[in-house]
């Protein structure tokens, strides 16, 4: 997945060069644990994911920065 772009639950997820992630144009700090082969980010500090796209979707869904929830 060198380049990927999708709209997920109303947020634009873009992955460039397989490693550079942005959501709604905002660059997202993310890392790869080579020992466990898992992806993780400070946006979701209690979980790790098998793929960068899976991580991106979860950030888009849960991080307060991208919240669509209304009172």
């Amino acid at each position: 997945m060198a380049h990927h772009k999708e709209i997920f639950e109303g947020r634009t997820i873009e992955i460039k060069d397989g490693v550079n992630l942005s959501i709604n144009g905002k660059e997202i700090d993310c890392h790869h644990d080579r020992v466990k082969n898992k992806f993780y980010s400070k946006y979701l500090p209690y979980t790790q994911y098998d793929s960068l796209l899976e991580l991106a979707r979860e950030i888009a869904k849960h991080a307060a920065e991208f919240s669509h929830a209304k009172d």
């Binding site: 700090d29 644990d33 020992v35 466990k36 400070k42 946006y43 979701l44 500090p45 209690y46 979980t47 790790q48 979860e58 950030i59 849960h62 991080a63 307060a64 920065e65 919240s67 669509h68 929830a69 209304k70 009172d71």
Partner: protein, 496 residues
């Protein structure tokens, strides 16, 4: 003083006091400062690392001071979320405390922190909608059980290299949740919603959750008083015992791990209403006979560790080893204490097998075997052999004779000496030099019973034992106070 109680046991008045104090801090803008302090911390400073526990201990301590201020109650303590009894139907989720689960869309619509009454913020401090919860909906449907907590409570040491999510064995890593049954991380994921991102303190249950984490660490510290915080030094900056922790402001107490190690000194008291985790009766490890054929074993679950014991009747060189196709890692504990680490090894044996050769004094020793990779499983065999034709002599100290010069040359090393007392009198055994020594006295006529111990009774950081002693042969064991410390010293025995 802060009296921390099980959230489910709070009285109506205590519930109202907690809610009012949290709402007051929110109105003052102070609550959101705590959210931002957590949200904008560097992840490597506070999660996936040794400082995870002391950082959060200081964090909730600081909020507790604010709660005491606005409540006017100097004994106000953050309630803890007792996970085994804190599921969906627990009273802590009632409308008079935290409110309950989110609706179909995850929005919390009950209790004092419901939509319209409580707004979360993002990491920039901007309002970001209502509080969200999705109990058990994010892949982890259950909360930690007491058995799982007890399992983690038995893990030592505090932490090990590489000081991250791959550290094993590591109490910190198991409590944080990256290996083992997953305690802390699971609580966040179980609540879901606003508890998932770095802004998780937006949900007041965050503080109850970390109060529980802190309580478990506190109880582990009481259970293993010899297992200190690690790394003492040599770890990443911000993680060592005396490094200032990242994203921690100056305050009533210091910002280093060493400043927050003692909960009692911080004035924190946990209630006795909830069942206290009892020291888990540890099953007697399988006995290895020295010199017998290696014992077959296997690591059938990733992250598992096997423990064996063996008895050494007299001082002498011994080799502890594994054989087989697995990449084993071995840690030796003892004598007569399965929490005192003597040495560890990864690949000193054949292929990727672990092997430790060492002079051992009489006593019972424990071998913990795991696989180097926390994700691997595999078979191995473990054995112990006595090396050499006979026991090596233990260096003898002569009463009122010359000092012996020696050194603790490796982490966890200890030296043993013997000396003979012929007439009952008062005797002093002491070290000298620049090394922070720790000394235990054993006897008479056996290396096993410990009759005295001392850390800094001598000059500077030296150990000194002065006591009345009856005739017989005695043994002195000297180690560095720090499990990782090394250094030279001299030792002598004098009458008087």
């Amino acid at each position: 003083m802060a009296i921390r109680k099980d959230a489910n046991t709070l009285t109506a008045a205590e519930r109202a006091e907690f809610v009012t104090a949290i709402q007051t801090l929110k109105a003052e803008g102070i609550y959101d400062r705590f959210v931002l302090r957590h949200a904008n911390a560097s992840m490597g400073d506070i999660h996936r690392c040794p400082a995870f526990l002391p950082w959060h201990r200081r964090f909730i301590f600081d909020l507790e001071l604010e709660l005491q201020r606005v409540s006017g109650n100097p004994n106000f303590g953050i309630p803890y979320w007792n996970w085994p009894s804190g599921g969906t139907n627990a009273s802590m989720w009632n409308d008079d405390l935290l409110g309950g689960n989110g609706d179909a869309g995850g929005v919390v619509r009950t209790g004092p922190f419901r939509a319209g009454q409580w707004t979360v913020i993002n990491s920039s401090g901007s309002p970001a909608g209502p509080l969200m919860r999705e109990f058990g909906q994010n892949g982890l449907p259950t909360l930690p059980s007491q058995a799982e907590i007890d399992q983690v409570m038995a893990i030592t040491p505090y932490d090990v290299p590489p000081w991250n999510t791959n550290s094993n064995p590591s109490f910190r890593n198991q409590l944080e949740g990256w290996i083992g049954p997953n305690l802390h991380n699971r609580g966040h994921v179980w609540v879901g919603g606003s508890m998932l991102p770095m802004t998780s303190p937006n949900d007041p249950v965050f503080f109850m959750h970390h109060c529980m984490v802190d309580k478990i660490w506190h109880e582990w510290q009481l259970r293993f008083p010899n297992q200190g915080y690690l790394p003492a030094n040599g770890g990443p900056f911000g993680q060592n015992l005396t490094d200032p922790m990242g994203s921690t402001p100056s305050g009533q107490i210091g910002s280093r791990p060493i400043d927050v190690l003692d909960s009692a000194a911080l004035g924190i008291i946990y209630d006795s209403a909830a069942p206290q985790p009892q020291p888990q009766p540890q099953p007697q490890p399988l006995l290895i006979v020295v010199g017998a054929n290696p014992t077959q074993a296997d690591i059938s679950t990733p992250g598992e560790a096997d423990v064996f014991r063996f008895d050494v009747p007299t001082f002498g060189p011994h080799t502890m080893f594994t054989t087989g196709p697995s990449d084993t890692f071995m840690t030796l504990f003892g004598p007569n204490d399965r929490n005192v680490e003597v040495a560890s090894d990864d690949d000193a044996g054949e292929n990727f097998n672990a092997q430790i050769t060492r002079n051992l004094s009489a006593g019972t020793y424990y071998l913990r075997i795991r696989l180097y990779s926390p994700n691997a499983t595999g078979n191995y065999a473990v054995g112990v052999r006595s090396d050499g034709a006979g026991p090596s002599p233990i260096p003898e100290l002569i009463v009122d004779g010359v000092s012996i010069n020696a050194a603790i040359s490796a982490a966890n090393e200890s030296d043993v000496y013997r000396f003979n007392i012929t007439t009952e009198n008062t005797y002093t055994i002491e070290t000298s030099g620049a090394t922070d020594t720790f000394m235990t006295l054993h006897g008479p006529n056996s290396q096993i019973p410990e009759i005295d111990r001392n850390d800094d009774g001598g000059s500077s950081l030296n150990a000194r034992i002065r006591r009345q002693m009856s005739p017989g042969e005695y043994f002195i064991r000297v180690r560095h106070f720090s499990p990782l410390g090394t250094g030279s010293y001299s030792i002598r025995v004098i009458r008087g």
